[in-house]
Structure formats: C-alpha cells, structure tokens
C-alpha cells in the first residue's frame, strides 16, 4: 500500500494544486511543496528503517499486487528493492527542490504549471516502482506529456521546437519499446501458454537467440534515447536549454535516470544473452558518448547547453558501466545515477539563479562574477569539481567504480572512458573561468544568494560531499536490489 502512496501523492497532488490556483495563485506551490516533502519523508523513513526481511526470495522490500485486467494478464503490480528505493528518494528530493526552484520563476498559470510538474514526478515514481510491463509503458508515457507542456509553455525562446523534438524522440523510442513489450508478451504466451505482462514471470521467458536480441534492441531504443546515448542525444541540448529551470532539473536529474533504470531493471535481466552479446558495442557507444559529449560541452557558449552536453558525457559512463557485468561497475552506475542527478541538477539551478540576475545564459556575457557573488561562486566550484570527478565528492566514487569495473571487462573501452576525465576537466574549468573569473564586462551590482536559493543549493552541496565520503550507505542499499544478472561475471 505504501508503494501506491508514492505514485498517488504526486498524481492527486497535481489535481489539488491545479484546483487550488482558483483560490490564490501562490497556493499551488505550497501544495506541491507539501506533497513532495511528504513523499520525501516517507521515502527517507523507509530508507532509515532497518532492512525488512526480503520477500518472496528476492530482494524486495515491499510488494503490492492487485489484479487489474486478468484477461490480458495486466495487474497493478508494484515492488520496491534497494535500487527503486534509492531512485524514489532521489525523485522526491529533487522534486521538492524543483518546486523551490519554480517558486519565483513561474508567475504565469501557476496552477497548471504545478499540475504538470507533479504529474511528471508521479509518472517517474511509477516508472521506478511498477513491475508490470504494460503499466511500465503507461507510466513511461505519463512522464512524457506533462514534460512536453512544461517545456512548451513555460520554456524560453525556441520552446515549441524543443518540446516537439523532445516528444518525437522519446515517443519514437517508446513505440519501439511497446513493440518489444508486445513481442515479449506473445513470445512468452506462445511458449508457456500464460499471457502476462508480469515482470516476474517474463523473466523466465524461453526464446530463440535472434528473437531475444531483436526484442532487446526494441527496449534499448527507448532507453538509449532517454539516457541519452550518442547518437540519439540531440533532443537533449534543445530540451534542456529551452526548459524552465525546474524542467531542466527534472530532465537531467530524473528523466534521464529512467533510461538507466530501464537498462538495469529490464534489459539486463530479461535478455541476459543479448546483453552479453551486444555488451561490448553498447559500452563502446557509451565511451564515444563520453568523449563526444565532452567535446561538444567545451564548444558551447550557452550555459545550459553546455551543462546539457555534460549530461551526455556523464550518462555515457552509465552505459559503459551497465554492460560491464560486474558488481563494481553496477554499483558505480547506481552511484552515477544519483550523483549526476545531484550535480547536474545543481548546475542547472545555478544557471537559473544566474539567469534571474543577468537575464542571459550566454557565457560570453558573463565573467568576473566572483567579486559580486562569492557565495554562489563557491557552490558552483563544488559542482564544477563534482562534474570533473574530484575525489571527495560523490561523482568520483561513481566514476571510479564504473571505470574499475569496466576495466575488467574491456580495458580499452575503460581507457577511452578514462580519457573522458581529462576532457571533463577541460570543459568544467571553462565554466568557472567564463562565469566567475576574468574581468567583468560591466559593473554588476548583484545580490548574492537569497535565503531560498541557499536552502535549495546547500542541501545539494551537503549531499554530494556526503556521497563522496560516506557512500557505503547507498552501496549497501543498492546491493539489495541489484538485478542479479549484473553480478554474473562474464563467462568467456
């Protein structure tokens, strides 16, 4: 039942927020904040609790099962293991911050805005919890449409173009996944006589090698676009750049993670043979993404576009690690999902804070801001360092584990990915130089962080340092949710 709450809180909250706008325009944000905080407290509560005995032989902490359309084998099936727990905590943590980010930025149609914001978050929570492939596809689409509105209505200049591009890319990937889901459904039905969308049952689907590989590629299409992996990444810079700050935070922090989650939860366990067969190619794709994204990040002059390309680069690490098939790399991937969400989310917030003051995202128009904004500069420095993988911050743990793990699988791919660390240094330091150092073009009279801005940025700083120095808590949690296939060492 508690699992249902994580999905229903935001979904019901969404309607409440919309309705409350009729009373007062500032009410929706309070509703949204309360909903997110309630979810966060609930999720954190589960995390702090001592681990319950695992259910049904697997590592599930909670399971909720309700038949829905038994004729088609569709059920309302939810489950939570360590991996989904971490993702839920991240969802509500970043969700709450996304509400704070929108506090002053959004003045127009606040009711509908917070409706969309909460609905996206509800969809994301659903994706992380459902264990029925039909419902998984449903929530996959639920994430999509409100995000389209967030970008298309409250975005910047080219918002319609960006929103449409985002929609088309993810929809195309999503449809291929739907085909694969249906294919899996019928293959399973044909061979066992049981037609079901249930994740647990589909896990043991016997299928021909080529069938498995084609179905796997269908799933991968959706996840690679979402991740995004090179060369399917080009929707991301546009979407990130044009989205309102909260949209960028949710996109980078959470939506991209659904792609990574999909790989870990569905692709690897459902198609172990195909995953092994194609693993090297996907790792290579990830490594290319790391370098290509890094190079493109260096080339950008728009702050948000730059950060968007760093996402392409960092999510390349996820792809590299996911197909390395060992525990080091798997733990690194989970860590990367979390730390990238924190650090990139923070960088987008900083971009938003700067935009509110300077009304530009152009790096060429910034410079020398340290004198005016030392507090913001210090925090930016932390996240710039996180982005280049400085030890002591969470991202380092993630990247180290991924590289150490993938080294054991394919050393040369790990070397390519490791070169990404140098490229990351190049583009990350450029941010500091262009924004905070150098000579200021004009005498900026700017106020350093307000209380609200400090409240939304400082927790991120604390979390990223905590993850860098005490990552064991997360690692232990994630260990109890590892798709078991990821642990099987490659038998070559």
């Amino acid at each position: 039942m508690i699992l249902l709450a994580f999905i229903l809180f935001p979904l019901i909250g969404a309607f409440l927020a919309w309705a409350s706008a009729a009373v007062h325009a500032s009410l929706p944000r309070w509703v949204a904040l309360l909903v997110m905080l309630a979810g966060l407290i609930l999720a954190a509560g589960i995390w702090i609790q001592p681990e319950p005995a695992s259910i049904a032989g697997a590592d599930w902490r909670y399971v909720y099962h309700q038949p829905w359309m038994p004729r088609f084998g569709i059920s309302l099936s939810l489950a939570m293991d360590g991996l989904s727990l971490l993702m839920i905590v991240l969802t509500f943590f970043l969700g709450a911050l996304a509400v704070l980010v929108s506090w002053d930025e959004i003045q127009d149609r606040t009711g509908f805005y917070f409706f969309n914001l909460l609905f996206v978050l509800g969809g994301i929570a659903g994706v992380f919890l459902v264990m029925d492939l039909f419902l998984f596809y449903f929530f996959w689409e639920v994430m999509l449409i409100p995000m389209y509105f967030l970008i298309g209505i409250w975005g910047h200049g080219h918002r319609l173009y960006a929103a449409l591009k985002f929609f088309l890319f993810t929809q195309a990937g999503g449809l291929l996944m739907l085909l694969s889901i249906l294919g899996l459904y019928f293959v399973h039905g044909a061979s066992t006589g049981v037609y079901t969308f249930s994740y647990a049952e589909l896990l043991q689907t016997p299928m021909a090698q080529s069938t498995g590989r084609w179905l796997m590629l269908g799933f991968m299409a959706a996840f690679l676009v979402k991740l995004p992996a090179f060369p399917f990444h080009t929707w991301l810079p546009d979407a990130h750049t044009e989205a309102p700050t909260a949209g960028s935070v949710i996109l980078a922090g959470l939506l991209l993670k659904t792609g990574a989650y999909g790989i870990l939860r569905f692709v690897l366990p459902l198609f172990p043979e195909a995953s092994h067969a194609f693993g090297e190619w996907f790792m290579l794709m990830g490594a290319i993404g790391i370098l290509y994204g890094g190079q493109l990040a260096y080339a950008q002059t728009d702050f948000k576009r730059l950060v968007a390309y760093t996402s392409v680069s960092h999510m390349g690490f996820v792809l590299v690690g996911a197909f390395a098939f060992n525990e080091l790399a798997y733990q690194g991937v989970v860590m990367q999902m979390i730390t990238h969400g924190i650090s990139t989310g923070a960088l987008f917030m900083i971009a938003g804070v700067l935009y509110e003051r300077l009304h530009t995202r152009e790096l060429e128009k910034m410079g020398g801001l340290w004198a005016a904004l030392p507090g913001l500069g210090t925090i930016t420095m932390v996240f710039v360092m996180a982005s280049l993988g400085l030890p002591g911050l969470g991202n380092f743990i993630a990247e180290f584990l991924i590289l150490a793990g993938s080294w054991q699988a394919y050393p040369w791919i790990a070397v390519l990915a490791a070169i990404g660390l140098v490229v990351a240094t190049v583009y990350s330091l450029r941010i500091m130089q262009k924004v905070f150092f150098g000579i200021s073009l004009k005498e900026f009279k700017l106020k350093d962080m307000s209380l609200r801005e400090a409240v939304m940025l400082l927790p991120l700083v604390i979390v990223i340092i905590w993850l860098g120095l005490f990552p064991q808590r997360v690692i232990d949690t994630a260990a109890k949710g590892a798709p078991s296939v990821a642990f099987q060492n490659k038998d070559k």
Partner: protein, 619 residues
Amino acid sequence: MEWMYLVPALPFLGALLLILFSGKTGKAGVIAIGCGSIGIAALITIIAGWQFLQSGIPAYDQHLWEWLRVGDFSIGMNLRLDALSLAFTFVITFVGCLIHIYSTGYMADDPDFARFFACMNLFVGSMLMLVLADNLLLMYLGWEGVGLCSYLLIGFWYKDPENGAAARKAFIVTRVGDTAMAIALFLLVQHTGTLQLSVVLERVQTLWTSGDETVVWIAFLLLGGAVGKSAQLPLQTWLPDAMAGPTPVSALIHAATMVTAGVYLIARTNIIFNLAPAAQAAVAITGAVTLLLAGCSAWVQTDIKRVLAYSTISQIGYMFLALGVGAWSAAVFHFITHAFFKALLFLGAGAVIHALHHEQDMFRMGGLRKSLPGVFLVFLIGSLSLAAIPFISSGWYSKDQIIWLAGVTERGSSWYAWAAVLGAFITAAYTTRMMVLVFFGREQTHVHHKPGPEMMIPLYILAICSTLAGFLELPHTLGHFTWLSDFLAPVLPAPAVLHADVAAEWGLQAITAGLAALAIYLTWRLINAPFPKKAGAFLRSGWGFDAAYDVLFVQPFVRVARLNRKDIVDKIYTGLAAITRTFHRMMSSTQSGILRWYVLGVVMGAVLILSVIIWRHSL
C-alpha cells in the same frame, strides 16, 4: 599518536571555517584559524613523530571509517604513519606553518585574505591526506585535492585571464598524469583485488617476477601520474606558468611540497618499480634529461620566479634520478633539503618582489644587498644550497649523495652520474646569475617597503634549516653518517651499491666542486655577455614543448570544438525533418483545387494502371 587524524583534520576544519565565515571573522580571526590550525598540526606531528621514534614500531595505523566496500573490494579511510610518511608530514606541516606565517605579511593588503588562507589550509590538509593514506585510493583523493588547491591558488588573482589560463593548464596537464595513475589503480584492483598499500606491495611480489609485462605497465602508468604532478618530462610545462600565483603559493605548493608528490608515490611503491626494471630506468632517464633541460631553461629566464620554477623542475629531476637508480632514501633526503632551501629562495624572492612593488624582472632589480641586507643573507644561504657548495650547504650533502649513487648502484650508470655532474654545473651557473642580477650591480628599482618581522622570521628559520638539514646524512668521505636512511630503512630498502670506492667518491666530489666554482667564476665574469637570440628564446620558452603541445593537442581540440559547435549528429535528424517537409510540400502542391489538374491526374493514373496490366498480360 592517537591524535594523528587531527593532523590532516585540523587544516581541513580550518578551511571549512574560513569558507563558511568568509569575511566575517576579520583579519585576526583568519590568521588565528589559518595559522593556528597548521601550527597545532605541526605540533601534533612533532609529538607523534617523537612517540613514533620512541616506540620503535615500523608503522602506526589508524582506522577512521570504512569508505567504500563493494563485494570483496574494500577501502578504508585509514591513515598510516611510518618513516616515509612521517618525513613528508613533518616537512609539510613545518614548512607549511612557516609559509602561513609569512603569508600574513605578504598577503596583508589583499582583499581576499580569507579566501587565500582557506585555499592554503585546504591544500595542507589534502597534501597530508596524500602522504598519510594507507591505500592508493585515499592517496588519490589527496593527489587530486592538491591539484584542485594548486588550481585555485594559481588563479587566485582571478581578474587577469592569464592567471586563469595558467591555473587551468596546471590542472589539465596534471590530470593527464592523474588519469594514467587511475588506470594503474584499475590494473591493481583487477590483479590484487585491493588498493591497500601494504597488501598491494605484498601481493605484487608473489604475483609477478621481475620484468613481467603487467607490472611494467603498472609501473609506467604510476610514473605517468608522477611526472604530471612533479612536473617532469614530458608533462613539465605547467609549472613555469604556475608562477602566476602569489609567491607563498609557489613556495609551498610549487616547490616544497606538492610537486614532490610524484617522488613520494614512486618511493612508496618502490617494490613495484623494483619489479619493473624498464620502468625504473625510465624514471632515471626522465630525471636525468629533465634536470638538464630545465637547468638550461632556468639559465636564460628574466623573471626571478621562473628561474626558481625551472630550478625546481631540475631539482626534482635529481630526485627522480635517485629513485631511478634505486637510491630511494637519497631522493627523500634531497626532498627534505630542497623543501627547506627552495622554500627559502621562493620566500626570499617574494620578499624582494614585495619590496619592489611586484617587480619580478631580474633585469630591473640589482644592488639589493645594501637595501635589503637581511633578505640578501638568507637568499645567499639558499643559493649556496641550490648551487651545492661543499660542506656548508645542505644541498651539497643531498645532491652529492645522488651524484655518487647514480653511478655506483646496480641500476645506475656512469652516464647518469655525468648528467648529474653537468647538472650541478648548470645549477651553479644560473644560481650565480640570479644572485648577481638581483643583489649586485647597480640599483635599478627603489625599495618600496621592507619586509616586516612576520616575513623575516620564517626566512631566518628556513635559513637555519637549510644549513642544518644537510647533516642528516654524511657521505663516506666525511664519516658516513646515515641517520636518515637508517630511519627510512623499514620502508625504503638501501641502494644496492656495486663498488663503494672512497677514493673515487673524493674524485667525483672534487670534480663537482671544481665545476661549480668554474660556473660561478664564469657567470660572474660573463654576466653581461650577449647570448644568441634565437637559442635564448628557444630555451626561455622551455625547449618549445608548449608550442608543440599547442599544435598537437590544443589546436585540434579547439578547432574541432569550434567547427562542431552545432553538433553534426543533429543534422541527421534535422535532415530527416527537412526531407519530410519537402515531400509534404510536393504533395500538398498537387492539392491545388484546380479541377482540370485533378482530371488530368485521374486520366494519367488510369492510363498508367492500364498499361501495366496490358504489359503484364502480354508477357
């Protein structure tokens, strides 16, 4: 010794406080936090070191918490105090404390006083983590941490874009080395299953025999990390530019401590290098070549800090040479004396620069021995050490040991020894040139204000240390006193000396001393002699490495980035969209609403279909 964790923790805490309360504590508060934390750390080091010497145990371990555990792979936040880390810790806290005190005078007028001390504290903390870590991952944390602080402090005066460029260059170039080191760690994880130093060093001995491919790879990759951090060939280019930072930074980070991290790394993993003769030879060759190339570059600089920077590269070259021939403790010995005399020289140069209102060009100095007698005295002491003047300077004792061992150890070669001797000649030459240009001759720039006691007292203390530190070890010719190498023996094995011949050592010492004297004499006489212009410019630019890297790496990267700013991959999708749109336009243009076109279309279609049918039937 139980308080050992405070040694790195206090500087970190100081840095945190300074960041959190930046500007709210007032200057006295900053000084109290900044200098106080380092001072207490130095005191604890001395006490812990004393207890350590008394206890006679080989190493003292302190477990703080478990950092990371995945499956069987586990890394602790563990500190380890042994002879090697104690030697480094002592130098870092002691010299660090003196430089902090000096900085209170040097940076007194800077508006970002608090930020400076925050970064300096962060640096000292990271450097201490680096040397106290009991595992390579924690060492890597310190390793990258000092890189960050180096970046922050080189670019401390951030308004000048050139300082920013120098800072980024330092970070990026060292990161290239760091990445090599990271790959070495992956190899070690894969083969030994751990990164804990004591276990790693034990397991490598059972896993591999001398010269095995994997261990040679590991050693070479570790060397990659070391040459990055220690500014050796081919990654030395960042250090001269790093002089853009405030002078105390150059003294602490870019002379006394951080740049010797590579020496520490190789000394710490000496067992691995011992198993990899090829890599160890590469260490020696790197050192020998670097010490000569950098020495030549130091010889032609005009900026006093750049002389010292190239001199640092050259002196670390000596340390690498020592490591490469298996004279591990000799490298540490030279590290200690170099830390004292180079910090002294940098701080002395800082006093001069400060007095002349940020004038760094030696050709605009001159005659300062009269107006700055105190600085002249300490600078002279430092210079004697750098030039390795026999008997009275600490630099002589340590350098002489390296020169001698370079030729006589099992992995040594007379080539190394002659390179080191030639290096000594060049060193004496450029040191003399610097002394003459700055302190002798005609006064060119008037002294602006004299350094106060907070700057002079650290200088005097360092001057005393620069003289006394040499007596930690005496050569065979002078009684063969080996306190330091005995102390380090549990960690660093003694060099395998093939033929110890006291007469030959006397001869080598005489040659070195003679060459140094010759260098001083020649320089003194030829100080104003013209130098070939092109060769001068080539040497001054550090043998054209920067230009080469610019063409090979920087330009292509930047050019591709510029060309591909709009992301060529996106063209696939926009192209797809364009094709769709073209079809759309073509199709929609047929829907013109003109009836006769529609009729024509129907007729043409009918004709086409009929002809196909007839054609198929006729076959």
